[in-house]
Symmetry: D4
Subunit: 151 residues, 8 copies
């Protein structure tokens, strides 16, 4: 099962999901993909590779389009797309990824604190699960692949 | 040309685009669609029609899914999807619509203040135009349909 | 908005939805389609037109395939598919239509008595609304098209 | 060849097909997938992982949506979808899966007792084979892969 | 309902279907399309418009491709594709159209004499009806649109 | 029949096709669409509407993306895409449109002088007709719609 | 490269292509698939597995549908579909496969004697190559994979 | 990641990209595909395999269609399509490939000298990156796969 981990890049939620799955043993055939999570590299990749821009708008555009090469493939190849909303920043790219994945018919899991429930209601309505903690995502993946519920 | 006007529902930007297009005369064949813009009705439609929920999470879910009947058709039928980001609220549903429309290959126009440029860079990178004012959207529609530029 | 009314054919729920929408006035632009609801004609159409079959299995097959010409177009053309489950018969064709519509990405409304909730949970999980009474479907269509909630 | 075994979960028909294929030797390249067949786990997976619900309707919804992550992938990845109808329960999820698979253009085999022939005629009309016994499904898979008929 | 009448061009079967439907009154909303049925024009259209070819193979290619402009649109726009096999010629273009229509998910009706049943079994297996006479196609269209069976 | 006229914008070939079809009478149901053919407006539309750019590269990008709103819809809505290659300029946008239309399965007619035959061989290989003069395109449209060949 | 070899089953053309490719060495990464070529098994598979039919029409239907499980997968998985027309029988299934493959956008190679050129012109017009001998198909595969032309 | 290298065949840009990626070590999982780059073989493959043509137009057609077997698969299988425009020839096949890839939703990188910027503006507007040197394409691939920027 191919899983794309989209969204918030400032906490260790991806590691927690990855480690949680790894701890369940090699029988659990899950491959993870994710965007580049180095914030500075992600912001500057366009100009670092393809040349500087005076205008910040095009600086951002160049970077966002290079990142889209990775993101689009990550979502297109995924069976399941997990989108994490944290408590900082606008996170419109996370919601954009969720919409993009929903339109492609991907199984969507949203990982969010309860305080965002109302603001995320349209996103959640397109999802197959709304989780609070990375461990719940691990349990979903285990159950979906093996039928085993948490002890 | 079918145009869906997604996003912010607290200012008169939809009216300004509609009036601007109407002022150009009936030659301009544009049909607009939009979500329900009555905030209270939009929040409560699910429970008002299908029965109350004790849990706010499911109250929201019921409403968001009823609204999705309209939103999905609006985007699916559109040639152009305009998504407006304002200066309040999380607006994740707007970004979700943008992602959804992008995945369906719709022509996307983002209408946003400059202060959001960096936060919206991934959304903008999927768009064919980033406008600042409703009048610019009117001019794009006029040009696209008639080839006429602003005087 | 094109609405396909699938499922149970022994009560007047289609008329109640049609009349309810008509009572709201001609502003409500809804076109309804449905399977042939004459049970005997529906069962025998294949052999009546294309010749008798000794074997009941092929008698049924011929009829089901002629009916599929209508059903497939009805679902393919629809924006919204309403599927009604009543309290008699197996109704596997209703559930089949729901699955077919879901896979095509149609907006699905399920109309069912509460006693079927557990048995229909997988069907309901693919729907945007679960209604109990035809009048609720009327209200959903009114709200989706006009933004007006029940008084 | 990827085969998804949908439907009835109270008899050993999946094992009989799996063993039958295995008995034909390793030349027969068939990979099977299926829903979680532990009835209790399947019913409770949503609340067991994501938290309890007071309302049984949402208890069921949460579980059905988690199960849908597995089911959708199973059907989407399949070349052949076998749907078994038994003699108990409503089995609307089985018919829903059949409709979903049909709309995706999957090759459909229905496994059913003769007593259900009339009620399943619309489902059967979308199938490439209607079998009575698991052994017939094994023979179909053998023939389709090797061209060998039963002795 | 849009109906494309493909295949044999040497008898009056299209007229018989058209007249039969017309005789049922204007309530029957059927629009017919068909290939060019003037055999000579169909064979020579390519070179007549785009210039002569010395090599008969390319003479034929040019014509077949011009005809494909009409055929592809006719099939793509159709809800129902009727393919008639007569008793002369190879009629591979008829079978090609049937395969093309089947892959697009069109509802297929095959009109054929019984003597071709064995040779057409793969084509018939993709169809929703196999008719013997044009009048049966008329009756199918009437039933599918109105639910009325032959008297 | 919806026809999109892509490519060269410096001669009157679109008028010649439009006039030629009009001269055949109103029975010929053809609707034409085309890109904006005012070269200066087409080059500057982006900055004229959305604000100047210092960098010519982004000046061009803004314009090309606004024009893409029209072009994409024109091709997506078309049954037939005619692409004209003239004897000046690089005309990569014409070839791009041809490739785009081919991938969408549109019927493609290429209008080109013989001197470009070798250079256009890959483009022509995806087309259903290669014409030399606008009048030939008129004749193709007449034949495809009415079955009538040139006198 | 996945190649499906459809059509005539009474000569050794599949072996000649397979051997020809094998003789070029293991660098040529081609996997072949084909229908069941045992004529008797192919005709009787339906009734042999699923039970006898009194009516020959349904005998044939059952077999054709079981064979379709293999054929559909073979074409769907293929990059290239080769369809061979021989000098006997109606071969409508071959033309049906060609149409089915064309509608799916598969690269089509037709293998046919010159005497069939006129009758196959519509089929050939959808193909990327028309070959006379199996050896030409081998050379096409070699060239397409390695860029090497016949000595 | 599967990368198709389309366009100009007279300089060593493909080798430079291939070597650049290889130099980064085997961790970089990139598979390259490309058209046949032997100009003479590419021009003559059709007639060399399938027989001579007197008319140069059909000589070219035969070759272009054989090459299309490779090109279509190359683009269809690719995650990323790089299209190189050089300073000679018409290069309409390169622009055609870009349009074809864009319509399929492939991530597009255009590699071009600055002198072509204006002429390529419509092509570039559909791309996620415009590079000047093969080394920049290598850096994009490295970043997209590993998140590492140039030193």
């Amino acid at each position: 099962m191919q899983v794309y981990l989209s969204g918030e890049i400032h906490t260790d939620w991806r590691e927690r999901i990855g480690n949680g799955v790894a701890a369940l043993g090699s029988d659990l055939n899950v491959r993870f993909d994710a965007p580049v999570t180095d914030h500075a590299a992600s912001d500057d990749c366009g100009v670092a590779i393809l040349g500087a821009e005076e205008n910040k708008f095009w600086h951002d555009r160049k970077g966002a389009q290079v990142n889209a090469i990775r993101t689009r493939k990550g979502i297109a190849d995924a069976d399941v797309v997990v989108v994490r909303f944290g408590d900082k920043y606008k996170q419109w790219n996370a919601a954009f990824d969720a919409g993009y994945a929903a339109a492609l018919g991907k199984s969507l899991i949203i990982l969010q604190p309860a305080e965002h429930d109302h603001a995320l209601k349209e996103v959640d309505a397109a999802a197959l699960a709304v989780a609070r903690e990375p461990g719940e995502v691990v349990e979903i993946l285990r159950y979906v692949l093996t039928g085993t519920l948490p002890a």
